[in-house]
Symmetry: C2
Subunit: 430 residues, 2 copies
């Protein structure tokens, strides 16, 4: 066997270090968790290789704004090599993980390359969970990747163009969002605002009454994990924006043009967004690692994968716990888990013991629309409305800026965000 | 027959006008020529319908900058409905022209809709001319649409990622540009700059010596239509940027990985750009209209299609003449032709005679790279270098701003343009 396989033959960057006995850390996935691990490890005595199937990182919390034409794709995505410029010792490889051979500390990529590691961090994120509902995977859109968001945006405007050209057939301009969690609420709110603006400025021939945004939620309220008052505020704000919120409604089956609810209600739709659950990508079940609820990889308290000494799983793909509780699949825990895994690797490399991950919950937020959001902050502080929206905005800008580390994004983003009132700028794909 | 078919059933906008006996003008194509016709006609006594296969207009002169990662797709494309907001009487329909029935003044779209017109303006632009060279259409990229430009950009960076991961195989990082006219020179110059920047910042493991940019030109000089001194300056500047300019070289055949020149020279390539000739899109030959050189639609001096009283052809698709000379396929003539067609329709509607089109050539320009361009202005003024580059920049900004009519583009563009020195921001497609 060729060993070590960590360097590819043409890679002369950092050659001197690679010939030393630095430990090799391979990180799979350039999301919040993976990038946060890099921030922790880049200036320590490691050779770090980041692997991602894309050559760009995506700021997932704002993808729904790309989908609803509030932002452009370039505003929420950053070339990984640009991000890594500040970490000269971290290298990047575009590729897809297909196999781990823990016995020999090797991973294999889709192109057949094998790469050796001393420590492996799995941070390849999550995807939709359709709970086996018939037709859900085929006919609905989820918004986990930049391509997903662009596809939804294209679909929305194709429907508008179709309606403008051929008239409005049943349901053709009905947006159905399944799932009343933060993602569903954000998507429903933004869709309603998009419809208002698009009809006012660009599709003046379409009566607003023929455009429907419907949010379907199984439980008796939206934003279930939030305090009662915030959840009620969100419901009210959604309804004020003409979102038809259907609580206590369960999807039974989805056909190409109709959502069938349990109990016999049928909703003809033009666009269907699936925001009902987070699941593990197919990759997770092919790696031979233990999986828990929703396909998440089971990890020990220190975030190492059960029964593996030198493999960590962090972010949405990991069933991380803090105390006895399962950590939610959000950006904040992902950032903290990535950092924790990095710190444990620093410990392990010095033969020091690892410590258990503990999630510091600073609060949760969701935005319903412009000037309307809910924030439930650490210490029992609940915010709604304008103040919560500003908090949401500032928080996302700070995080975005931290990742991108360039003023350009801030300017771009603010500009687009502020000027959005003039109507969405929409470019359809080919 | 349902007549008039001009209004689609749901279109209530401008209802009152449509029931009057205003003349109906249908414009096919939202490029420079089509939009310029609209500017001329929008406030006159006409019902104007614009048809385009995309829902956005593209600023073609800067597409090569999207292809070479200097600009983002959104910087050079504008939603048509946004552009038309200032013309409330002009309507838009996304669709593809498939047939004209001049006897009954009807056009048909790909979805089967038939639309009546009193005057028809064809302005659907041009595409590549491969002159029947084997393999050219299959294996080369041309840059006429936004999708083309994105495809080229993806291809370039896929090649870089491939080289970074697997080493540089023969020709894998060789950019071949066929055609030494303005487009070819711009593309070759921008590619060379992109390579320099990308290697310096993001692909530091790839030696510059293994990256080649080759410009293949059949004639003995580049920029043939420019004055000798400008053409020589361009050649020099290209070579200073390490572009290998192969003059007097004719492409014989193209295979998936090699360009075969007449005389036996073979160039293995990674990316091949076709900038050797402008031709008519397939649509042009299916409409039953007379075609001239390069498939261009033959028009009378007043820009009406030969033998057709009320059909105009303008822009790249028209074989327009000025005096006895064929007008070049560029933005400036397209703008002037669109305006001229509009004015003739105003005349015809009042039973006034039409006049012959006369092209006012204000000069031609081409940019080789940053701070290097050539401009050959009306009155015998030749500019090169920094001054020509500034002239090019200002001219394009003014035109871009005129089309978009919004400050946002200017800011965006300047920002991206100025910050490009930090390296290209590249997002690959899925």
């Amino acid at each position: 066997m060729n060993w070590p396989l960590f360097r590819t033959k043409d890679d002369t960057r950092g050659l001197e270090e690679l010939n030393t006995d630095r430990k090799k850390v391979v990180i799979v996935g350039a999301g919040f968790a993976g990038l946060s691990a890099i921030e922790t490890l880049h200036d320590k005595n490691f050779d770090v290789l980041l692997i991602d199937r894309h050559n760009f990182a995506t700021f997932q919390p704002l993808l729904y704004q790309v989908a609803t034409a509030g932002l452009n794709p370039g505003d929420v995505s950053f070339p990984i090599r640009t991000l890594l410029r500040k970490y000269p010792k971290v290298r990047f490889r575009q590729g897809e993980l297909v196999k781990i051979t823990p016995e020999s500390n090797l991973i294999e990529l889709e192109d057949g390359s094998r790469i050796g590691y001393d420590y492996l961090i799995l941070a390849f994120g999550a995807t939709s969970n359709y709970f086996g509902i018939k037709g859900a995977a085929e006919y609905s859109h989820a918004i986990y990747t930049l391509d997903d968001a662009i596809e939804v945006r294209n679909r929305i405007f194709h429907q508008f163009e179709k309606a403008a050209a051929h008239g409005i057939s049943d349901g053709c301009l009905t947006f159905v969002v399944v799932g009343g969690g933060a993602t569903g609420v954000e998507m429903a709110g933004a869709s309603a605002e998009l419809c208002d603006r698009a009809l006012r400025t660009d599709y003046t021939s379409i009566p607003r009454s023929l455009v429907r945004v419907i949010l379907v939620e199984q439980r008796s309220k939206v934003l279930e994990v939030f305090d009662e008052a915030l959840s009620e505020y969100a419901l009210e704000e959604l309804r004020r924006r003409k979102v038809e919120v259907m609580l206590g409604s369960t999807v039974d089956e989805i056909t190409p043009d109709t959502v069938h609810l349990k109990g016999g209600v049928e909703i003809p739709y033009g666009i269907l967004i699936w925001a009902a659950g987070v699941g593990a990508p197919p990759l997770a079940s092919t790696l031979g690692l233990p999986q828990g609820r929703g396909g998440r990889i089971v990890v020990n308290p220190d975030l190492r994968v059960a029964d593996h000494e030198n493999i960590f799983a962090v972010g949405d793909i990991a069933a991380a716990t803090s105390g006895d509780e399962l950590v939610p699949q959000l950006a904040q825990p992902a950032l903290q888990e990535g950092r924790h895994a990095g710190l444990q690797i620093i410990n392990l490399a010095q033969d020091l013991p690892t410590s258990a991950f503990s999630y510091k919950d600073r609060g949760i937020m969701a935005t319903i629309g412009r000037r309307a959001a809910v924030a439930q902050l650490k210490g029992g502080i609940d915010l709604t409305g304008w103040l919560a929206w500003m908090a949401w905005l500032v928080l996302h800008l700070i995080t975005l800026l931290g990742v991108r580390n360039k003023l350009s994004v801030l300017i771009n983003w603010l500009w687009h965000y502020v000027s959005w009132g003039k109507g969405p700028r929409v470019i359809l794909g080919g």
